[in-house]
């Protein structure tokens, strides 16, 4: 059967999109639908899910208020700290470093990623634990310093773990910044600070927003760092989810929290994109 050119084009497009589409359907849309249905149900007597149609789980959200509060506080603060450290680093790497050394320095930035996050967090657990830095401090007379299982320890872990994820997109957006624009700005009488604020920063905004979105979204679901460095005292939504699904087997309540979390992530994405559009003046969200 001869297909018209337009029909064939449609088939090819469909065939090319099929793998990604099926993937998204089976591993995103379908599970999300299941979670949504679960979240309106009830906990079965022996744990798990039994069908029902109630908003009780959502009304019960305040019971895990501490998890939401910790996440809502520490995730943005962590992302902001990452940004505050990452931007100068990325700026330095992209605009100030001798190009001959640039690759090496960028590689050094990424190298920690080759070690498992678990191992690196474990290392911090030891460093911050009683026999780590506090013991050293004791030797010089500073006693009773508690580092592990504090919000500070969790923040430290977050910044340490996610810094490269923030540096890379900002670095890329600064690296592809046309240097002649900086020269043009200087030529037109702008002092270096003014050039930074009016040219460099707005044009690197897509990178900043990608970094912020990436880190914030991952932080909203963070489980490992609060678990290991927060010691159950500073726990995130991720920890609450693990607890509800695996320990207390209250699937519907866990699902309600998960749905709320997903909505939160979408909200964060929308807000960062809005800001990026506004600042960079374009309607494109480059993933760099």
């Amino acid at each position: 059967m001869a297909l018209s050119a337009a029909a064939r084009k449609r088939w090819v497009t469909a065939a090319l999109l099929a793998p990604a589409g099926l993937w998204l359907f089976f591993f995103l849309a379908l599970p999300f639908l299941a979670i949504l249905v679960f979240s309106l149900g009830e906990r079965a007597p022996a744990g798990g899910y039994q069908p029902a149609l109630t908003l009780a789980n959502y009304l019960n959200l305040p019971a895990r208020g501490a998890a939401f509060l910790n996440t809502a506080l520490l995730a943005p603060v962590g992302a902001a700290l990452c940004l505050a450290i990452a931007y100068p680093a990325a700026w330095f790497l992209a605009l100030r470093v001798d190009p001959r050394h640039r690759l090496l320095l960028v590689a050094l930035m990424i190298v920690p990623f080759w070690t498992s996050m678990l191992v690196r967090t474990y290392a911090w657990m030891y460093l911050l634990g009683a026999r780590g830095i506090p013991q050293l401090l004791e030797m010089i007379g500073i006693e009773n310093i508690r580092l592990i299982n504090t919000p500070g320890a969790v923040l430290l872990g977050i910044v340490y773990g996610y810094l490269p994820l923030m540096v890379m997109p900002i670095y890329v957006s600064l690296e592809k910044l046309d240097r002649r624009l900086l020269e043009a700005s200087s030529d037109l009488g702008a002092r270096p600070m003014s050039t930074f604020l009016t040219v460099t920063l707005p044009l690197s905004m897509p990178g900043v927003m990608t970094g912020v979105a990436l880190v914030s979204i991952l932080l909203l679901g963070e489980y490992l760092i609060p678990q290991m460095l927060g010691g159950g005292k500073v726990y995130f939504i991720g920890n609450a989810l693990v607890d509800l699904f695996l320990q207390s087997r209250n699937w519907p309540f866990g699902s309600a929290i998960a749905v709320t979390l997903v909505l939160g992530v979408v909200g964060v994405l929308l807000i960062t994109m809005r800001i990026a559009w506004k600042v960079s003046g374009t309607r494109q969200m480059d993933l760099v």
Binding site: E183, L188, G189, V199
Partner: protein
Amino acid sequence: MAPEAISDLEFRHLTKRYGEVEAVSGIDLSVPKGAFLAILGPSGCGKTTCLRMIGGFEQPTEGEVRIAGQVVNGIPAYQRPVNMVFQHYALFPHMNVAENVGYGLRQMRPRLPSTEIDRRVGEALEMVRLGSFAKRRTHEMSGGQQQRVALARAIVNRPKILLLDEPLAALDKKLRGDMQLELLQLQRELGITFVLVTHDQEEALSMADLVCVMSAGRISQLGTPQEVYDHPTDLFVADFVGKTNRIPVTVDGGVLRLADGRALPGASALHGSAIAALRPEAIRIARAGDGLPGTVTHRIFLGSFAEYAVAVPGIGDILVTTDRRGATEADLIAPGEAVCLTYDPAAVLVFPQ
């Protein structure tokens, strides 16, 4: 230095080295106020480095750059009274046309009132005939329009010197011609010094009133376009500015001799091996007569004139251009025809080899 001799731009033994490489080698140059200077040369001759040292993007290794009599070495670009039109315009992509043009005015301290900024931006846009484009985004504009935005953005600050880095290189031929005229007109209206850097000799000759030909970091010749074209100081300038036939000769007692011993019309005070340079348009081509006999090998018809390649025994290929004026179709000579070349002996320039 006498006050009346104050020039807008001056190089004093200006040198720029990048490590071992010397990009600009001790050049001296003085450009009178209101001149249109073209720095002309092949890529790598140091012309762009010179421009960047005027703009303040590079600092001299040795020597001085003076703007309006003041040494500006060490003064950063943002404090210099010059503005530049960048090669690929370097317009700010996150700003519209008016914001781009007003950028320099917004940097001024003390701050200018916004009404003043708007008025001057409007004037500058009118000057480059983009009055109705103020709110446009720059990437929605054609190359020629972007060029004008870049121009307006530079002149709106009323610089003492306007720097132009190959400003027309990215435009098509027709547009380039229009822009050349516009630039000339603009320069006359503003009365400020223009410094243009180009590798296109036509551009340099047609716009500038002072041409500085550079080669390997040095000035080969500085003069009016006509001086540079008619009286090149060396073979490089003769070759680079316009086309030239190079004929190897031996000078013997003032007489030019070809390799086979024949005398070539022309004269020189040099002695020994030399190169005789002859412009293609200085040669007359005829089907018969006295002169150098040869055979046409190629003809390139270019509408208003024609170019011939003529094989002359004992010399090689000689390029001849003929004016179309008064010539009919029958006057066009076909490849393969035997011809005779004549020229005014005074048109021959002889350079040491």
